[in-house]
Amino acid sequence: SSVRWSSSTATGFTVSVTDELYDDTPLPTKGDGGVTPFLGVKPGDTSPTIDSCMVSPNAHPTWKLFRLLDEDGNLVEGAQMPPSVSEEQWVRMYKAMVSQQEMDTIFYGSQRQGRVSFYMTATGEEAIHIGSAAALAPNDPVYAQYREAGVIMWRGFTKQQFADQCFSNERDLGKGRQMPIHVGSSEHHFHTISSPLSTQIPQAVGAAYALKQEGRDNVAMCFFGEGAASEGDFHAALNFAGTLEVPIVFFCRNNGYAISTPTHEQYRGDGIASRSVGYGMHAIRVDGNDMAAVYAATKAARELALAESCPVLIEAMTYRVGHHSTSDDSSRYRSIDEIKKWKEDVDPIARFRNYLERERLWSQEEDAQLRSDERLEVLKALEQAETAAKPPLEEMFTDVYDVKLPHLEEQEASMLAHIAKYPDKY
């Protein structure tokens, strides 16, 4: 083999690089303007003083917050509502936010009544759900964390389906295998929620990789919270996405708390958006309680991801008004005043309603009627879900493997025999 490059040092050692080790990339040699081949340094880009080379994290400008509406729902100066959205569409999106909120309120209450074992609300984050979902194509695969019910709701998942999943009845698409709120539906291109945090992020990258290979006009959409962005999976996934150049939108809901841990105990950098630099991708920080802005940001991110086949990171700043879940009491670690302030001053639904009312697209009477209708619909769905039959026992052993293996068939037979023996116990 021929030697492509060798260097002799004063000690007599020779480092040789032969043909076998390299592809056809031409190797730079010493002496061509001071280029050091493997350190990626460009000419003139070196310095002999520490001060000019050591960069503080504060040297980087923080991300501006993108918003279109102020807290009262007025268009901010220079803002323009996304022209592609019609007035009917805005109203529809508003109604979806209300629908989600009413569903949350009633399901949460049903847990307190002991009818459902567990529930998680997304109170205060409705604008994120609807704003982002509306900007996606209906068949963009969505990977979510657990606080994104509005996304699948926008896509057509009904209150009845939500209720059926909560009650694990025979209509539950998950066949009674998962806790409440762990919804999923292949029809709606929404992957089933999984409890362990952030496992969905590398999986979403894989989905984007598949999309890239297929050359489809779709992006993968991945939601997670700012706490989940501490998990190792987040970092690995973003690095993969940037390096493999896949069409994916990462959507971080920065809602201030990871159960009881506030953001200043979760990370030190400039939020989650700043991590984009390390992983080689665009990022935008948006006011998560401004539905119009969330819509616009998601649309822009999606277009960029498709045009360049690249990842884009959205960080939506918001506030988790409700408890982490029905197993949490957030008054343990935050003041009622803090919650009240966010609920009253920056409620995403009130904000957008103000905008609609000002544009004469909506009225208080319609609002009252909508809420009443939604409540009724959820209550009906609850009742129907509660009284429906449970999934058949056989479903326990299906879907573990594609075809039931002998050991599972044996276990199933043994279980059924046991139940047949004690019918009144089961």
């Binding site: 009674g176 998962q178 362990p196 190792g232 105990e265 979760q266 197993s327 670690y333 050991h407």
Partner: protein
């Protein structure tokens, strides 16, 4: 060429000298004797399994450090809280979560090198296990964990190798699965460093699978089974405040990595007392009930091995079992690894029949290991094959009607005892 420190000949001579040294080192290594075969076993744990932790000394300046590094008022409040926990215990009303909290506070007061990390620690986490630790000892010694279960076990590993005694609480042991790599590393540390680095890490987590816990597959996996094979790791379980308190104290004092599993659905419901200041052994099972001599003579006694939620199931099934005219030696497997085969054998010498009520899966579960060990070590005592009541291999469902059939419970035990006594296979 550009400086006059050494000449070409000197540099060549240096190279020759270096090469000669390297060659000599290689030859020395080649000709050195192999390590003794016994070394692997010796390096398994820094503290032998039968260590008594009660008289462990603590560093001479421990109290001085504690006084200097904690606020007097905070300490006083901590002592008040400890006193109130002890009152509860005296009244037979302390919960498992509180019992572990008591053990942790005592150990952190005793040894200033003891630290604790948990998600939502400052809010008490889910079961008050780390309650008041941050308020007493500050945010360095008692910190809210950043969300990354795998890696905060790794971080604790680093702390442990550098002189500290870290306690890590897993809110739910299912999320410990993220930390398999780190936990393996922890188990390997003592041996792979040739015994040079002790790594006294204690992991405490609520886990197991209660019958009808309605938590779905991802909160019902038997992490205790998954970690059984990790070398160098001591594995314990506790289903009572007494066992939880005593074992936690020992595990914290133990100089190697240990993991203590507690029953996720009984953390606040099971109440009892603790044996104050007593460190329980980490290698012994607990006999909770002995079958009457009469039942043994009549061949109507069965050894029942169980742990975590299975203990309460068995205790509640006892009345019916007795009503059937049968009885059991109820043995709680508080030490899963190393397993207390002696206690099991002593019981088998009476009953000659054994049932394992096991909240792990058929494949690769705890019961599988125990069953195999019994067959190997106590075969002559057995009148029948070891009977295992364990979870099926399917993901544990959420819907109660389905979950009922997967997770074995008291009613299954009653039937199994009947079958065992009737010598039905």
């Amino acid at each position: 060429e550009s400086c006059d420190v050494a000449s070409e000949e000197e540099l060549t001579a240096t190279k020759k000298q270096v090469m000669a040294e390297v060659k000599e080192a290689v030859n020395f290594a080649k000709n050195s004797p192999e390590p003794p075969a016994s070394l692997a076993k010796e390096l398994e744990f820094p503290d032998a399994p039968d260590t008594d932790y009660n008289n462990r000394p603590v560093r001479a300046d421990a109290e001085a450090i504690t006084t200097a590094s904690t606020d007097a008022d905070a300490l006083a409040r901590c002592e008040e809280h400890i006193a109130s926990l002890k009152e509860k215990s005296a009244a037979g009303m302390i919960t498992i979560g509180d019992a572990v909290n008591l053990a942790i506070l005592e150990e952190m007061l005793r040894d200033p090198m003891t630290t604790i990390h948990a998600e939502d620690l400052q809010a008490g986490s889910s079961y008050d296990i780390p309650k008041l630790t941050q308020q007493t000892f500050g945010t360095l010694r008692a910190a809210d964990e950043i969300i990354d279960e795998g890696h905060f076990i790794g971080k604790a590993l680093g702390e442990g190798m550098n002189g500290y005694r870290p306690i890590v609480e897993l809110m739910n042991t299912n999320f410990g699965i993220y930390g398999m790599a780190e936990l393996s590393s922890a188990g390997n540390t003592y041996a792979t460093t040739g015994g040079q680095f002790e790594m006294p890490m204690t992991i405490i987590g609520a886990g197991g699978t209660a019958p009808n816990q309605a938590l779905g597959a991802e909160h019902s996996q038997p992490f205790h089974a998954y970690v059984m094979g990790i070398p160098g790791l001591k594995i314990c379980t506790a289903s009572s405040p007494e066992a939880a308190y005593g074992i936690a104290k020992s595990m914290i004092r133990d100089n190697g990595p240990g993991i203590l599993f507690l029953p996720v659905k009984q953390m606040k419901s099971v109440k009892g007392s603790v044996n104050e200041d007593v460190c329980l052994p980490m290698n012994k099972a607990r006999t909770l009930h002995k079958a009457s001599d009469a039942s043994v003579s009549a061949n109507k006694a069965v050894t029942v091995l169980t742990y975590l939620h299975g203990v309460k199931e068995a205790q509640e099934a006892l009345a019916t079992i007795n009503a059937d005219g049968n009885d059991i030696d109820l043995i709680e497997l508080t030490s899963l690894k190393p397993l207390d085969i002696d206690t099991i054998r002593a019981s088998l010498e009476r009953t000659h029949k054994v049932i394992i009520l096991d909240e792990s899966t058929l494949s690769g579960g705890v019961g599988a290991t125990v069953s195999a060990l019994i067959s190997e070590k106590c075969f002559d005592e057995l009148d029948a094959p070891v009977r295992r009541l364990c979870m099926d291999d399917a993901p544990v469902p959420y819907a109660a009607s389905m979950e009922k059939a997967v997770v074995k419970r008291g009613s299954d035990l009653i039937e199994a005892v009947r079958d065992a006594v009737a010598m039905k296979l």
